[in-house]
């Protein structure tokens, strides 16, 4: 079943485009990563899906309703980001109590256990927490709400590595027990790749890729060798990026090699490996590795 559908959606903020011609759909109970560089339009997209902002053009459907002003969408979705404006006089336990009242699937036991695990005191206030702890609290809320549509926008901002790993693990465990549709945006593909099934890449305000993470990885290839070797091996191929490591070079190319071509590469002494998800993402968003070097070498 399709949960989210966007059809030729445009969004402008006082004439400045934030998203252009976005069309995709997301199925039920899929964890989709939303990736893109700073200012690509990730947050705008997620806020439109959550019903906070409306489209300038085109149509957004969530649970088969226009999410902007929809009670059904609001009651069945939760949006977590690093700018949650909790009312000041309320303590964390009071905030959790409110979540319990508003969200039908709220698991209080889980929330309390996670609070204890992450060592967040219940009788303090959100603004007194450290940056990482604030994000952790938000993340706990997002997991324990068990909303059919759960949206995390940069949930791990400020968290230390251990907390990040714990968060993704907790999310995955709870997802397996209670499958739901999850949108997860982060700058760090590496840390979330284990939980992702699909990836939605936004680049320069447009959808650059939407599909499974494995397909994206298979679509690219890393080849290593001297420059001359690589040049002759890739004639007629699309080279996405080039990196120099002494005499050896490392290129990422689009993978449209046949089996015969792959074995040809081996015979020429060119080593080819599959790319990591992060490399594939970087290749998509045209961030050639070593690119910043060129700025200084010029």
């Amino acid at each position: 079943m399709t949960v989210i559908t966007l059809n030729q959606v445009h969004k402008k903020f006082s004439r400045i485009p934030a998203l252009m011609d976005v069309t995709f759909s997301i199925n039920e109970n899929v964890i989709t990563g939303v990736a893109g560089r700073n200012g690509a339009g990730k947050t705008t997209l997620l806020k439109m899906i959550a019903g906070f902002q409306k489209t300038t053009e085109g149509e957004v459907r969530v649970f088969d309703e226009n999410p902007f002003g929809s009670l059904l969408v609001s009651a069945n979705s939760i949006y977590i980001d690093d700018a949650m404006s909790y009312p000041d006089p309320m303590k964390l336990q009071e905030l959790l109590h409110e979540f319990k009242r508003f969200y039908a699937n709220w698991d209080e036991g889980l929330a309390l256990r996670l609070m204890e695990y992450f060592e967040i005191p219940l009788d303090t206030r959100h603004r007194f927490l450290s940056k990482g702890k604030r994000s952790t609290f938000n993340a706990i809320v997002g997991i324990a709400a068990r909303c059919p549509l759960t949206i995390f926008d940069e949930p791990t901002t400020g968290m230390d590595t251990a907390a990040r790993n714990d968060f993704y693990r907790a999310l995955l465990k709870d997802y397996i027990a209670f499958p739901r549709t999850i949108l997860l945006s982060s700058h760090y593909i590496n840390e979330m790749q284990d939980v992702l099934e699909d990836l939605l890449v936004i680049h320069q305000k447009r959808i650059r890729y939407h599909g499974s993470t494995s397909d994206l990885q298979e679509a690219h290839l890393i080849i290593r060798g001297t420059e001359a070797q690589l040049r002759s091996a890739t004639s007629g191929k699309v080279v996405v990026s080039k990196t120099k490591n002494g005499l050896q070079e490392e290129w990422i190319i689009e993978n449209d090699f046949s089996e015969a071509e792959r074995s040809m590469l081996d015979r020429r002494g060119v080593k080819s490996t599959t790319v990591t998800l992060n490399d594939a993402y970087l290749a998509l968003t045209e961030q050639p590795r070593g690119g910043i070097d060129d700025v200084f070498d010029a």
Partner: protein, 247 residues
């Protein structure tokens, strides 16, 4: 995961309770203002002292005008406060739509007006007691709770209704301004036009008289009700277009 279906009224009720809890400090501010007015301003005392040579007459008029004035001031601030993006974003932490958010705000205004009405009228007892304790020749012009309870309750009603209208009007004005900041200009001009106007028969006076000169409670409630519904409809229509979490 199956979808949860909620009715708007359920959510309004929850939002109202949530807003009440998260804005509890606003009520404390009201009470502090009232106490300041009662103790420091003695309600709102006016002394007129006059005489010739050996004869002098000093007449102290004390009333709850000061408490009432500060309460209206508070009502305006409260009305404005609920239109701020911070409040809206806090509401959208939980389940909310423009409809439920506005209705919850109106419920909150209703509750706040009732509290303001009760405390303002009760504060009369305090102001009176202060005078009684000062061993003065005291003339009580307002009948007390025991002698005329009906009048006591009409006072609570009048104060609550006026507070509610103040909140609703200020709320609607600032919702309009939230929608488009430029619209603050006509309101500023209007304010100057009203405050600079010296003729007693200006239209603002007419508007106030429209409510103030009404001596039938039912007609008064009707007028106030229609006004409140108009304000509510206007702010609802406008706030339906306002986006949240715009950062």
């Amino acid at each position: 995961m199956s979808l949860t279906h909620r009715t708007a009224w359920e959510v309004v009720k929850q939002q109202f309770l949530y807003k009440l809890r998260s804005n509890a400090a606003v009520f404390t501010v009201l009470f502090v203002l009232q106490i300041i007015s009662m103790v420091l301003m003695n309600g709102a005392a006016m002394t007129s002292e006059m005489g010739t040579g050996s004869f002098e007459l000093e007449w102290n008029s004390i009333s709850t005008d000061g408490v009432m004035g500060l309460t209206f001031f508070w009502a305006m601030v409260f009305g404005f406060l609920m239109t701020t993006p911070g409040q809206r974003n806090a509401a959208y932490l939980y389940v909310a739509t423009p409809l439920t958010e506005n209705l919850a705000n109106f419920c909150l205004f209703g509750f706040a007006s009732l509290i303001a009405g009760i405390t303002t009228v009760l504060s009369g007892g305090f102001v009176k007691l202060l005078a009684q304790l000062q061993d003065v020749q005291l003339i009580t012009e307002t009948a007390g709770l025991f002698s005329e309870p009906y009048q006591f309750f009409t006072r609570v009603l009048a104060m609550a209704v006026y507070t509610f209208l103040t909140m609703m009007i200020v709320y609607t004005i600032f919702i309009i301004i939230q929608r488009n900041r430029l619209l603050i200009l006509p309101f500023i001009l209007l304010w100057f036009a009203v405050s600079q106007s010296t003729t007693p028969s200006n239209w603002l006076g007419d508007v106030i008289d429209f409510f103030y000169n009404e001596h039938s409670i039912l007609l008064f409630l009707g007028k106030a009700g229609v006004t409140a519904v108009l304000m509510a409809a206007l702010s609802l229509v406008i706030s339906k277009r306002i986006e949240v979490k715009v950062s």
